[in-house]
């Protein structure tokens, strides 16, 4: 599917501004952006629920079909699971017997065998969302549009469903335009990620490109990348001019790449030539446990850094003075 200079206005307000995008067959394209950036409006525009003010949508093979799944399952409460799944087929004029057969066969793919005669309120949240996905997928859409479909579910269920949908997509081969604000969700399924602000696509790339080389501080901030500082600050810490192109004037480093060191280990004793590094001092302001260990907030002069530690055995103490080693090669550079 290709979007060519698409603009969508609602009550004279431009929600989507001259947006162009191509989604390849079989691709999972994740769209991320802050609230009010136009993600849902774009999906509704592609699905035909909102008319385009200008621009056009084209498909490689002429006419394309879409299926839209909302954040809430929105199952018809008066219809059974089977009838909900078969609703789109009914719209297409498929005979009752045939559509019941098709919907019944599809239940297995949705892992909803034996639940066909239940009503939506008799299902769990995850089952409801699977029915909602099934209702769109049974129509065999060229492009599945997902508007934060698992946002209302708990973490473990969300992960299970993401994994299930990913497998299903790889098996059936349809394309997905997936709106989410969960970074882990985007990283685990996206072939490409697009970042949208104020109705405009700011950056498109594969997940590593987006996270390692954000196009701007605005994007880096949206992605909540830690330890973002100006080139000048980094130069202060490294106490030298850093060999970087003029345009790359900001850098960030992952909290896992900052190393807490003791006095002995900072001495280059093993004879292995290390790259450019800096050691800075600070003290612990905040300790937050995580799955791997602790995330520490370190105050170093006027700047705050985030450092991750591995292991639970040693609990860092507040106000404890520490030294952090920063490897130049682990810093990702980007433009303001």
């Amino acid at each position: 599917m290709h979007l060519d200079q698409v603009t969508i206005k609602i009550h004279q307000d431009s929600i989507i501004n001259s947006l162009s995008l191509s989604i390849h067959p079989g691709e999972i394209f994740v769209l991320m952006g802050p609230s009010g950036s136009g993600k849902t409006t774009l999906l509704k525009g592609i699905a035909g629920l909102l008319s385009l003010t200008s621009g056009r949508i084209s498909w490689e093979n002429g006419i394309g079909t879409t299926g839209l799944v909302f954040q809430e399952p929105r199952l018809f409460p008066h219809l059974t699971v089977l009838e909900n799944i078969a609703f789109g087929l009914r719209v297409q004029g498929v005979a009752t017997k045939e559509r019941r057969l098709q919907a019944g066969n599809f239940l297995k793919s949705l892992q909803l065998e034996n639940l066909g005669n239940r009503y939506p309120h008799q299902l769990s949240g995850g089952q409801q969302q699977r029915v909602s996905l099934g209702r769109a997928l049974i129509l065999n859409p060229d492009l599945l549009l997902l508007d934060e479909p698992f946002a209302s579910l708990d973490t473990s269920l969300r992960e299970d469903l993401i994994s299930w949908l990913y497998q299903l997509q790889r098996r059936l081969g349809f394309s997905i335009l997936w709106v989410t604000h969960y970074i882990d969700e985007a990283l685990s399924i996206a072939d490409r990620i697009g970042i949208i602000f104020e109705g405009k696509l700011q950056q498109i790339g594969n997940p590593s490109e987006i996270f390692q080389q954000p196009d701007s501080e605005k994007i880096a901030h949206f992605l909540s990348l830690p330890n973002r500082f100006s080139k000048q600050q980094w130069q202060n810490w490294f106490q030298r001019d850093l060999p970087l192109p003029q345009t790359l004037n900001r850098g960030w480093i992952d909290s896992n790449h900052l190393q807490i060191i003791d006095e002995e280990s900072q001495l280059p004793s093993n004879g292995i030539k290390e790259g450019l590094y800096s050691i800075i001092s600070g003290f612990i302001m905040k300790v937050k446990p995580n799955r791997e260990g602790y995330t520490l907030t370190i105050q170093s002069n006027s700047e705050t850094l985030e450092v991750s530690t591995i292991g639970w055995s040693k609990v860092p103490a507040l106000q404890e003075s520490i030294k952090i080693k920063i490897m130049f090669e682990h810093i990702y550079w980007y433009s303001e």
Binding site: L49, P77, L139
Partner: protein, 311 residues
């Protein structure tokens, strides 16, 4: 000290238990005043009316025995059955037509609500007009010497006023239907409009995303979800129309015998000894109305039986 609690603790526990028990009956307690008020009038009055219609010491047969059910026996004649059929037929027609027209109107208003707010006000006006006045207004405009007849004559669409169709005191009850619908369509609209507005906002996008046209969405999603309330509204109209007096008395008293009109005549014009007949007529209407209501409740319960929900 008992159960590990001291005296104060025990008192507190008792108090909390009482509070929990009261809380579990909160719903019932809330409607108790209204329930008592309704039962106070309904049970006593109904019992008395039923007794009056079933038997009476006033009526002694020729053989000198008390003749129970004499009022009902007197009603067992083709003329009364015909009146029942007419009354039920008119009430059913008013209920169904008002239901359908009201539904279509409410859907139309809901889809145009942003632009045509003034239409809502117009549709609410008839609700404030008494039925008697509605019948009078209808007579003024629809009778053969009324406004529309004169307008048609003025424009040459008819050669004489008598050519205008008979819509008041007509044998098919068209005037009665029109007068009732003028009042009842707005009632149905007022009843279901907010729900249709919500249902459209809840379901239109989802149904469209599955390829559904608006007409399919209305038929397969909105009407089924609305069904219990919509049918309930039609039953209210049916029950009201079945027992209402003013409109058939004014518009159809000479063309067909409506039960409420007949009952009123029996009650007011033939002395106390005929009053059991008037009450018996109304009991028959009440039984019909309750039977229809019970049937609808049964159908509704059957509809929900397998677990179906609408909200």
């Amino acid at each position: 000290m008992s159960n590990g609690l001291n005296e104060d603790g025990l008192k507190m526990w008792e108090k909390n238990r009482l509070r929990v028990q009261l809380n579990s009956y909160k719903g019932l307690l809330g409607i108790l005043p209204a329930l008592l008020f309704m039962l106070f009038f309904f049970i006593g009055g109904s019992f008395h009316a039923l007794c009056l219609s079933i038997g009476s010491s006033h009526q002694i047969s020729l053989l000198g025995e008390e003749d129970l059910l004499w009022a009902y026996k007197e009603l067992m004649n083709p003329s009364f059955f015909q009146s029942v059929a007419v009354s039920v037929g008119i009430a059913a027609a008013v209920a169904v037509l008002s239901g359908i027209i009201g539904l279509l109107t409410a859907i139309f208003l809901a889809t145009k609500s942003a632009r045509w707010k003034w239409l809502h006000i117009i549709f609410q006006l008839p609700i404030g007009i008494p039925h008697l006045l509605a019948a009078y207004l209808l007579i003024q405009v629809f009778m053969q010497s009324g406004w529309y007849s004169r307008i048609a004559y003025y424009f040459g669409w008819i050669d004489k006023l008598e050519e205008f169709p008979v819509l008041v005191h007509d044998e098919w009850g068209i005037g009665v239907l029109l007068a009732y619908m003028w009042k009842e369509v707005p009632f149905i609209v007022l009843l279901i409009y907010p729900f249709i507005l919500k249902l459209i906002s809840d379901w239109r996008d989802q149904a469209r995303a599955l390829g559904s046209t608006f007409s399919q969405t209305v038929r397969w999603v909105i009407i089924p979800i609305l069904l219990p309330m919509w049918v309930g509204g039609m039953w209210v109209v049916f029950a009201f129309t079945l027992g209402a007096y003013e409109i058939p008395a004014l518009i159809a008293s000479t063309s067909f015998r409506s039960i409420p009109v007949e009952a009123f005549h029996e009650y007011s014009q033939f002395g106390l000894e005929r009053q059991p007949i008037a009450i018996a007529m109304n009991v028959v209407l009440a039984v019909i109305s309750l039977l229809v209501g019970s049937l609808l409740i049964y159908m509704q319960m059957d509809w929900y039986k397998r677990g179906r929900r609408v909200w």
